[in-house]
Homo-oligomer: 584 residues x 2
């Protein structure tokens, strides 16, 4: 959110007005601080020594805010010295603390804003007048405890959160999207569709994938593999552990820090669980000398990597300890970089288009002020980043550059996918690496018979299968296209007398590779159909007297279409839809 945008100013001013309202209703409250957020604002208070408001008091506070807003005041900025400010805010211990940190020593000038009766050290910006704030565009949302400055050694303050948008319509849209997000939550749908589960004994962040979930993963992974094999990629296989030596040489031992799962063997040797696959794949590449004739070498592997995350940060599939990457490494010559990048870019475009995602591009560069976090020299980084920029230009991509988002070994070209709710997710990534080839002395023998330093391109199309699956479930609300659906079609006989014919249809479809099932449970038609819909099946087929007699079936789609169709037409219909990977 731009600091100078209208909505930022509205949210920021509302934080001040919230403070003013709270101070009027709870005069004993001490103000902490309160910024604008991506969806509104909050303010933190210390209510010690008097009443603390609860959720049921939010209405009253909100009413007071609206009352203040109706008076329409003009926010007033003053520039005063820190000493003057310390005097003015002497009864507000948290303000005093901040002022002292900021510049009390030098008695710097600071900015103070006053809106109505409430003053706050604050550099703005704010709305020109409070009448610019639509009183139907905001709502107080919730109350939560939060340590002062996020440090658990400090006092727990009470934060009041509000939502704020331009007007009532935008607020309603946000509410709707929130409701939709909640209904589409991948944890909820994942359970409903029986895709994955968690076990308390195994631990959080370690999903267990059911037969249906595994089919989903396999279908996705096969799609990526097909694309890759067209471009000359080969699969390789590595173990999940390594001696410390590999990571000392690669730099992971030093740079990966706490996130590395470390192991001591019975012989007291140090090993680690791999957090990345590159060093292992490098060892594969380095098993023999390579002629320029055999370059590039392209290795792909879908495999789990492990990162030791804090348990509080784990949730659903979006933050896990066991991360399945559809990883690949291209070892190529400098003059092959562009072609290899474009090949990958084509694959990424094809892959995401199939699901109806809109892609945008971010060039994730290193932070020059923090060179210690990275491997290699300034020159290598500039070189690699220039190559990336050139590639993006040549591809005529609409891209943004972000400092500090690079991998430890090189800059990244990251793809952001916009989902059907308008949310952005980082998905595919292509990374240009001139550092690891240097550290591991990777070469090919060129036309002159000389050793030539090569480069590496790291790429994951889905990124993490766990995160991509979560994004996809929410994007499609669990309505997977036919080619991807773990269960593609269900055969529903109306009553027991139709079981035999239903079984026949089921067998015939199975024989041509359709993932079909037969629901011959002794239950009512209505119940079976409701179940098929709840299971979000692309298709189900109903078989009663009419169908048995006409030797056809009634095909019902998830979208509500219904038609009579014979077996061979049904088979062709399904196979064609699978083949084209249509979105249903």
């Amino acid at each position: 959110m731009e600091k100078n945008s209208a909505i930022y100013k509205i949210r920021h001013s509302l934080a001040h007005i919230l403070a003013e309202a709270v101070l009027e209703l709870y005069p004993h409250a001490k103000c902490g601080s309160g910024p604008a957020t991506d969806t509104g604002f909050f303010y933190g208070f210390d209510f010690n020594g008097g009443d603390t408001p609860g959720e049921s008091d939010l209405n009253a506070i909100e009413k007071k805010m609206r009352h203040l807003l109706k008076q329409s005041v003009i926010p007033k900025q003053e520039i005063i010295t820190t000493n003057e400010a310390l005097k003015r805010f002497e009864t507000s211990p948290y303000k005093v603390e901040i002022l002292k940190e900021k510049g009390a020593e030098n008695n710097d000038k600071i900015s103070v804003y006053t809106i109505g009766k409430f003053s706050d050290p604050c550099s703005g910006p704010h709305v020109k007048a409070t009448k610019d704030i639509n009183i139907k565009g905001f709502r107080l949302e919730r109350i939560a405890g939060a340590y002062w400055k996020g440090d658990e050694k400090n006092t727990m303050l009470t934060r009041i959160y509000g939502l704020a948008f331009k007007d009532a319509k935008e607020l309603a849209e946000y509410d709707k999207q929130q409701k939709e997000s909640k209904e589409r939550d991948h944890r909820k749908i994942g359970k409903e569709l029986d895709l994955f589960t968690f076990s308390e004994l195994v631990g959080p962040g370690l999903p267990l994938w059911t037969p249906k979930g595994t089919l989903l993963r396999t279908n996705l992974d096969n799609f990526v593999s097909e694309l890759r094999s067209k471009h000359g990629y080969s699969s390789v296989t590595i173990p999940h552990i390594t001696k410390k030596d590999l990571y000392e040489k690669s730099g992971h031992w030093e740079k990966f820090g706490d996130e590395l799962f470390r192991i001591k063997t019975r012989e007291n040797k140090e090993y680690a669980l791999k957090p990345m696959n590159c060093p292992h794949h490098i060892q594969l590449f380095a098993r023999m000398p390579h002629s320029y004739k055999n370059m590039p070498q392209r290795y792909a592997e879908t495999t789990m990597v492990y990162r030791d995350e804090q348990s509080g940060e784990l949730g659903g599939l979006t933050r896990v300890l066991s991360i399945t990457q559809d990883d690949s490494h291209v070892f190529c010559r400098h003059n092959q970089i562009k072609e290899e990048f474009f090949k990958i870019w084509d694959m990424v475009d094809t892959f995401y288009e199939v699901f109806g995602f809109e892609l945008s591009v971010r060039l994730s560069f290193h932070n020059p002020e923090n060179l210690d976090n990275y491997l290699g020299t300034k020159e290598i980084w500039e070189n690699a980043e220039n190559s990336l920029r050139e590639i993006a230009e040549e591809r005529k991509a609409d891209y943004v550059e972000m400092s500090g988002e690079a991998a430890m070994y090189g800059p990244k070209l990251d793809f952001m996918a916009k989902d059907s709710l308008g949310r952005e997710h980082q998905v595919a990534t292509i990374q240009l690496d001139m550092n690891l080839p240097e550290r591991f002395d990777l070469n090919c023998i060129n036309e002159q018979g000389e050793k030539e330093r090569i480069v590496m391109i790291h790429c994951a199309i889905m990124g993490s299968l766990e995160r991509f699956t979560a994004v996809l479930i929410e994007h499609l609300s669990g309505n997977f296209p036919l080619w991807l659906a773990p269960e593609q079609i269900r055969i529903i006989p109306v009553s027991e007398t139709h079981n035999e014919y239903a079984q026949h249809i089921n067998n015939e479809l199975k024989a041509i590779g359709i993932r079909t099932s037969l629901d011959d449970n002794n239950e009512s038609m209505g119940k079976k159909i409701r179940k098929a819909k709840k299971d979000r099946l692309p298709y189900f087929v109903v078989i009663g007297d009419k169908e048995v007699e006409a030797k056809n079936v009634t095909l019902e789609s998830r979208r509500g279409e219904s038609k009579q169709i014979n077996l061979s037409a049904l088979a062709n219909h399904l196979l064609a839809e699978i083949d084209t990977k249509s979105i249903t």
Copy 2:
């Protein structure tokens, strides 16, 4: 080897005669001990205080042995008291040490054998007369150091090893098999065919699989998956780590001991790398209640497990830290055990027949004297073992029973495969487990609506992919059948002018899914053909003027057959051979 067999007696007597020969040639030598081995015999000596023989002295010792044998003596047994023996062997410190351990305190009676001039405390048995030993049936093999009693705190003795068989013919056969084994060594062929590699930085016991090796694994695994999917198995996916809690409940934390790779997280929680998949799969099964209608549930997963082996024990693919199991778990009712076992048995038969392995069966039962090593009660074990015996009987299998070879949770039905060199390898395993369902309280809801305790059947068809691949490489000497070969056919143009047509053939075969390659290197025909043979390709195709003109190819098989064939006949030939999984 039976202790009363003729060959055992021959080998045992030869050990004594070796000692006699050594003492005549090296009178300062002190005798350690020397048993018969599976292929001959050895004896350990302390040569301190005089000359130590080297490999070049083996001939002279062997000659002395033959000389002694020609004198034909009758081995003589005496039973004397330990005190008498201590006196008789007082100049032999190692003998004294053994005698003292054996029964010096009680002055027990012991057996002493004398052959020629050499006496040894020894309980026999020996040949009746040394003329029973064929002097052309043995040979001294090598010299190696070994700590006295295998304890590195003791003196290093010098061991002299010999080979011994019934006659010269058997010895020659053994030599031939050894030579053949050496040529077929999977480490040698694995390197020649570029299937896998090891990296010093990653560490021993952690193979890295190349593109070709990964294809080999994938083809094998797909074969198992096809068999399983016909029998209603579904794939599932689990992570490689777990909280300690899972293994405390399963018993692995306690019973697996040193072999478990243990991990401490940044939050100081204890995790482990999985040495087995069963507890994770159990958590998957337990995610929901199961009706008897949905039993059995069959989960399959090819995944790596990790066991912390001593580094000295690691070698090639036969002993690794990262073990890929083609694992499966059937959760079924008691009355379904037999049917499920038979299904698996069918799959095992089909799988091994394709490669021409001969199978035999071993029932691996628990050791009743060591109940502490196992989970569960005596009753559960007897129950499970009786079921297994019944199944083997009903299958009319020729089986042996082995005590002490069970898994920690249940008895096993192990399959032994005899390879083309006549060597036996333990391969597939089916295990009946009534203990883990008890520990994890696994049930289904039966026809009466009651909870019913279920059982588990653990099974791996290949066992470990690493070990199976090693066995298969040596069994086939790297000559993989067409369906399995990473590279199925190679197109060899005679000269540059044939490249275009060769490329056409290559593309056409690729388009129908054949793993083909084009060798258009600027090298002589002879060299290219030698390379194709060395790479053990099932087929290669030569294209010269004649072929271009006739619009066909010359197809050469690994076996030396050669024929002219057109493209469509070639395609059909290859596809049919792949489809039937023929051995070529």
